[in-house]
Symmetry: C2
Subunit: 155 residues, 2 copies
DNA sequence: CTTTGTGCAAAGATTTTGCATTGCG
DNA sequence: CGCAATGCAAAATCTTTGCACAAAG
């Protein structure tokens, strides 16, 4: 499992590199590192966090470059639409295998799950509205097993 | 149907008024009008749009007041921040019956839909994880009917 | 009347952009 | 080497805040 995950990441990196070059763009250390950081990140990430992480790796990078690179990645389809929480823009990888989230409102734990039923449901709904789906995000908020049994307060 | 909807709106306004006063805050024309505008708005709204609509009603209001009022409403649980698209924060009333969203990544249009199936699916998934659901958010991103037929570029 | 709310303008925060310089191809 | 990419700082947006005045209770 671990091996295949690393393999996937390597393949993704190659895919990204090819996509960048195909578009007539240049493959710079900044772009590579930003992409690596993204595929390493399990969940969501923010700009500021990204800038710091890249710099820790001793790759000089400016905020501007991160913004510009993320826009390119969006165009290329490697990261998804942004959401905003509390004045912070959050990006998410669109390449990893799709999953959704159970989010515990008490302890903040995020559980990932996959369900084929959702995909079917999505198609059903979209056809009703003549909507062409590209991807979705389902978040279920509530209490995780642990929090149900210890403490019922909800933030 | 229409009658009961108006009734609901009236009830909501009363509820809001009570909530504001209960919190020791004052019930001003601006606050009332902002709230009315929100419950009238079927879908989602943005700050700038809100400011203009209120002013058209000849109620003087500043952007600052709208921001401040929305924050109060958030605290009171009457509105939620939904998403951010292209630097614009979109709010939504949180009191209306539950629904989910189809979001067009090309024109930004938001279509609401309801599906009983999702509720069932939610219960099914949650029982697998011993998770106690409180509410969920499902967003399907893609292209709306219009954008599929006019132009395939995405931003 | 007292205290909170509003408007304005200035300050903050986040994202974009122009321009000189760097460096990929 | 030529042209795109980067970094910096300034500009553009969006949101919050301090202060004086207005107004709810």
């Amino acid at each position: 499992m671990k091996r295949s995950k690393n393999k996937t990441q390597k393949r993704l990196l190659e895919e990204f590199k090819r996509a960048v070059k195909n578009k007539g763009l240049r493959y710079t250390p900044q772009r590579e590192q930003i992409f690596k950081e993204i595929i390493t990140t399990k969940g969501h990430f923010e700009i500021e966090q990204m800038v710091h992480k890249i710099r820790e790796k001793n790759i000089p990078v400016s905020r501007a470059t991160v913004y510009r690179t993320l826009n390119i990645m969006k165009e290329l389809g490697f990261v998804e639409e942004v959401i905003k929480i509390k004045n912070k823009t959050i990006y998410e990888i669109s390449i990893k295998e799709h999953h959704d989230h159970l989010i515990c409102t008490s302890c903040g734990k995020i559980i990932e799950f996959q369900s084929q039923d959702i995909e079917k449901l999505q198609d059903k709904i979209c056809s009703q509205y003549k909507f062409l789906p590209k991807f979705h995000r389902l978040e279920i908020f509530g209490l995780c097993d642990t929090c149900q049994n210890t403490n019922h307060q909800q933030s």
